[in-house]
């Protein structure tokens, strides 16, 4: 039990004293999640939106597939991405193995189905009357599209937060593709795994608290922006 309280105290110490190893892991975590979230949002929101907004052949089946991909195990994604990035793999020549960019590729694959599926759900669950009302008010097709997008913004925000939560906390991809290299690809989650393996439970708990603090800051800023608008 003691190590939980000690962990809390150590977390504060690590942050205040500017522990270089901790900040290196924090920086790696932030960098890699910014990369993967940028990619998955840029692709995922338009795809999810179109999927929710339009009706097309096989739509139900494609939705079932994206919903299923939301439960992709991170270790499997890590293994698959490793297979592509390893020096002997098809993308080996780009030297992405054991880099933050490599981890970001895996995490984007992890986040993409979440962004697509939840964005599509958010758009689908909007009131059908919205479209009818807009059209009867004389809105053009483009105006209908923009208004729907605007009305779905909270749903899309929720989709992004969900994906961010998954990306921030995953350890399987970061460990397998990143290799947990100190000062380079050691993220907070792989550092927690390492410290736990080493029996340094206090440091593990402390790093966990640091991770939660990052998640809190991001969520807090977003809800602040949301309340203002």
């Amino acid at each position: 039990m003691n190590f939980i309280i000690d962990g809390l105290l150590q977390a504060i110490q690590l942050l205040i004293h500017g522990d270089a190893e901790t900040y290196s892991a924090v920086y790696a975590t932030i960098r890699v999640s910014v990369y993967s979230m940028t990619v998955s949002l840029l692709i995922g929101i338009p795809v999810g939106f179109l999927m929710g907004h339009h009706d097309f052949l096989w739509k139900k089946h494609i939705r079932t597939i994206t919903d299923t991909l939301m439960s992709l195990p991170t270790v499997l994604v890590g293994l698959l991405v490793y297979a592509f990035l390893t020096t002997r793999g098809p993308l080996g020549e780009y030297g992405l193995l054991f880099t933050l960019e490599g981890i970001a590729i895996g995490q984007a694959i992890l986040a993409l189905p979440i962004v697509i599926a939840l964005t599509a759900s958010a758009v689908e669950s909007m009131d059908d009357n919205l479209k009818i009302t807009l059209v009867s008010l004389g809105a053009s097709r483009r105006q209908v599209l923009y208004s729907t997008l605007w009305e779905a913004r909270y749903g899309i925000l929720a989709a992004s937060m969900n994906a961010f939560g998954r990306v921030l906390t995953e350890v399987g991809i970061a460990m397998m593709v990143g290799g947990n290299i100190k000062w380079h690809t050691r993220t907070i989650t792989t550092a927690i795994a390492l410290e736990t393996n080493k029996g340094e439970f206090v440091t593990g708990v402390a790093l966990g608290i640091v991770l939660m603090a990052i998640a809190f800051i991001v969520n807090f800023s977003l809800s602040f922006l949301r309340n203002r608008s």
Binding site: T87, L97, F98, N180, T196
Partner: protein, 278 residues
């Protein structure tokens, strides 16, 4: 207003991406990538040696610490330039299969059999063979790494050397599938026995403030020697590996000054690794 906030955040993200990118893609010509076993990293040996290596050779080094099984696999896939591992039989096969060159024995320590201080199996001071026979005969809990690591392979060899079949589904045989320190902790929780390298045990003793629930019960047997070697990944199989840097590391590990450093590496006043007299 909302629009401004949106544009401002986009600009921030873009700036961040531009500033932080660019560093990763220029592969450093003077960077050596090593795959190694957990014990060399967990004990802190590599962190201790790295500054000397960088200073004396001008080569930067990064390592991935994992089980010996996976380290060899990374070598096979050309994802590491050099390996520091401890499973002699698997290493010899690796070299024989053409994946590695110059297997260089650089240091050793030994494995020890640890168990509860009360020693329910009564194996203290016995030979390894007797000890394992008693454990399997009396169905006493034994925790195995179960992860193809060097220690796991050594343990399997010990069962065979004792004339026993390697346990698998027996209820008293727990296959943890985890690193050495986690395995020791599982053994401690379950009041079981396990095999560990001495270095990791000293590290464990150190984190338990010198009073661990598991004690060394069997040690000093010839069968328990744990040998660490450096292997250069074969450039004939992997044209992109930096075999010159790898060779430089291998040579550096054998230098008398480095061997003195390894001898001087202590935790709680105890020496963890011993250099091999050649």
């Amino acid at each position: 207003m909302k629009r401004n906030v949106f544009i401002a955040s986009l600009t921030l993200i873009a700036a961040f991406l531009i500033l932080s990118g660019g560093t990763a893609f220029c592969a450093d010509a003077k960077l050596l990538r090593m795959a190694t076993t957990t014990s060399t990293d967990d004990t802190g040996l590599l962190d201790y040696l790295k500054p000397y290596f960088v200073k004396e050779t001008g080569i930067d080094i990064q390592w991935v610490a994992t089980g010996t099984g996976k380290a060899l696999k990374l070598g096979e896939n050309c994802d590491a330039d050099v390996l520091l591992v401890h499973a002699p039989d698997a290493e010899k096969k690796f070299v024989a299969d053409g994946f590695g060159l110059n297997r260089n024995v650089v240091m050793y320590n030994d494995f020890v059999l640890i168990g509860p201080a009360s020693d329910p199996a009564g194996v203290k001071g016995k030979s390894v063979k007797e000890c394992l026979s008693v454990i399997s005969g009396k169905n006493i809990k034994f925790v195995s790494r179960g992860d193809k690591s060097g220690t796991h392979q050594a343990e399997q060899a010990l069962w065979k050397a004792s004339g026993l079949s390697v346990p698998d589904k027996e209820v008293w045989y727990v296959q943890a599938g985890q690193g050495m320190l986690t395995t020791i902790q599982i053994a401690a929780e379950q009041n079981g026995y396990t095999l560990t390298d001495r270095g990791t045990y000293i590290k464990y003793e150190d984190t338990m403030k010198g009073n661990p629930p598991l004690k060394i019960l069997v040690e000093g047997d010839d069968l328990l020697k744990n040998i660490y070697s450096v292997i250069v990944v074969n450039p004939a199989k992997c044209p992109n590996v930096k075999s010159d840097l790898a060779k430089a590391f291998s040579d550096w590990m054998s230098r008398p000054s480095t061997q003195n450093l390894i001898t001087g590496f202590k935790l709680s006043g105890k020496q963890l690794f011993f250099v091999s007299a050649k």
